[in-house]
Symmetry: D2
C-alpha cells in the first residue's frame, strides 16, 4: 500500500460547509476518508475508460427451464477460463436462477463477455458491476 | 461565495500518484480544483436525493407534424409557469424539432414534469440534466 | 416518416400482464405506442455507441465572476460553429448562470466538446443529454 | 410461466427498418425476443422504483488488512440474515478481496444495505446490480 501522503486543499467556505454536513450524514470518520472515496470512484471510472486491467461481476437472472441455456452459459465461460475467477449460483424460486460471475481482464474483454452472457436467449435480466483489482488504490 | 478555507488531507501514496496523473490528463490546474469538482458532483447528487430546490434542463425531440403535440407541450408548461424559467426551440430538420426547457423547483416536481413531457405522445426522445442553482457550491 | 408497418409479437402471458399494467400507469394510449418508445430509446443508445451523427444538449452552471470564464466558453463554442446550433443563457441568481448549448455532430466530437466545456475551470456543474436528429425514428 | 400471448404492433417503417438492423447485429433470433428484453428491462426498473420485492447483488472490493473490516462486514450481514441469500469471496491479490453478496427484500431495504456495506471504512470500491426475482417476467 505504501505510506500516507499529506497535502493541503483550498475549498470555498460554503462548499466546505455543505461537504461537512454530507460527511456527517454519510457516516464518514473525517474529510480525508470521504475524499479518498471520491478519488477512488473517479479512478475506477478512468481504469474502465482507459481499457486497463479491471475486475467485474456479471449478474444473470434466468429461467433454467429454457432449453440448453445452462449449457450455453457454462460453455461461454469455459472458453474464457483465463478471465473467469469464480461464480456463485442461487436458486431464486421454482423457475429462476441467479448467477454471479467474477471476471478479470481488459475492460474491453470484460464488457464483451458481459454483453454476450446478459444477451443470451433465456436470460431475463442482467447487470454488470465495473470495479477494480484494488491495486494502487 | 464567501472566502476560501484550507485544510489538510491524508491519502495513500499510490492513490495520490494515480490521482495526480488523472489531474494532469484532465487539464485541472491543481489538486484543489479537481477535488472541488468531485465534491460538487457529490453534493448535486445529494440535493436531488434529498428533494431540495434544484435546477434542471429537459430536452425533447419531437415530430411537429404530430397533431396537437406542440399545443400539448406548451399547455403543460403554462400550467407550471412558476417552475419554468425559459425554453429554446431548434428546427432540426424537415420533421423534427428539439426543445430545451430550463426548470426550477423541488427535485420531485421537476422529475414529475420531465416524465410528463418526455412521455408525451409524439415525443420521440428526451432527457433530463439534473443540476443545481449553484448557490453554496 | 414513411408508412406504418404491422407485425405480430409473442410474449409470455405473465410478462404481458405486467406490461399492460405499466402501460396504463404511464399513460400510454396502447401497446404499440409504448413499444415504439422502448425501441427508440434503444436505437438512440446505438446511434451514440456507433458514432453516428447525433444531437446533444450540454448544460453548464457557472459563476460568471470567475475571470475569463464567459470568454473561454464563448471562444470554445466559436471554434466549432459548424457543430453548435444554438444556445440559451439563464441568470439563475446573483452569482450563477446556466447555459444550454444545442450541438450536433459525430458522437465522438460532441462528447469531446461536452467534456471540454463541463471541465472548464469555474464551471460548477454540468450535464449532457445524448439525443438524436429524430430522422428514421 | 403461463402460456404465450400474441398481439399485433404498429411501428413506422423507418423505425422498424432500423430496429431490424439492430436485431441482426445483436444476435436476437427475432423481433419478439428483442421486444421481450426491452419490456423486461423496463419492468425491472419499475419494480425498483415501486419498492417491490427485488433481488440484488452487492459487490465490494476491500483491503483485508484494514482492522476489523472483515468482522464489520460479516456482522452487518448477520444482522440481516433474512435478506441475505448467499455470498462469494475472492482473493484478488495480496491485499485485496472481492465479495459479492446476493440479497433479496424490498427495494428500499436492499439499497440501504448496499449503501451501508459500500460505504464501510476500508471498502475501496463497490457496486450494486438491481435485478429481479424473475417471477412474472
Amino acid at each position: 500500500m505504501g505510506g500516507l501522503a499529506r497535502f493541503s486543499v483550498a475549498v470555498g467556505e460554503d462548499l466546505l460547509r455543505r461537504f461537512d454536513r454530507l460527511i456527517r450524514e454519510s457516516g464518514y470518520a473525517n474529510r480525508s476518508e470521504a475524499l479518498r472515496d471520491l478519488i477512488r470512484d473517479r479512478l475506477v471510472a478512468e481504469q474502465w475508460a482507459a481499457g486497463e486491467e479491471v475486475v467485474a461481476t456479471i449478474t444473470l437472472v434466468y429461467d433454467h427451464h429454457v432449453r440448453d441455456l445452462a449449457e450455453r452459459l457454462t460453455e461461454a465461460q469455459h472458453q474464457r477460463t483465463d478471465r473467469i475467477i469464480s461464480s456463485l449460483h442461487v436458486h431464486l424460486n421454482h423457475d429462476n436462477c441467479l448467477e454471479v460471475i467474477v471476471t478479470r481482464g481488459s475492460a474491453h474483454d470484460v464488457k464483451e463477455l458481459a454483453g454476450l452472457l446478459i444477451g443470451s436467449r433465456g436470460v431475463k435480466h442482467g447487470g454488470l458491476v465495473m470495479t477494480t483489482t484494488g491495486e494502487e488504490l
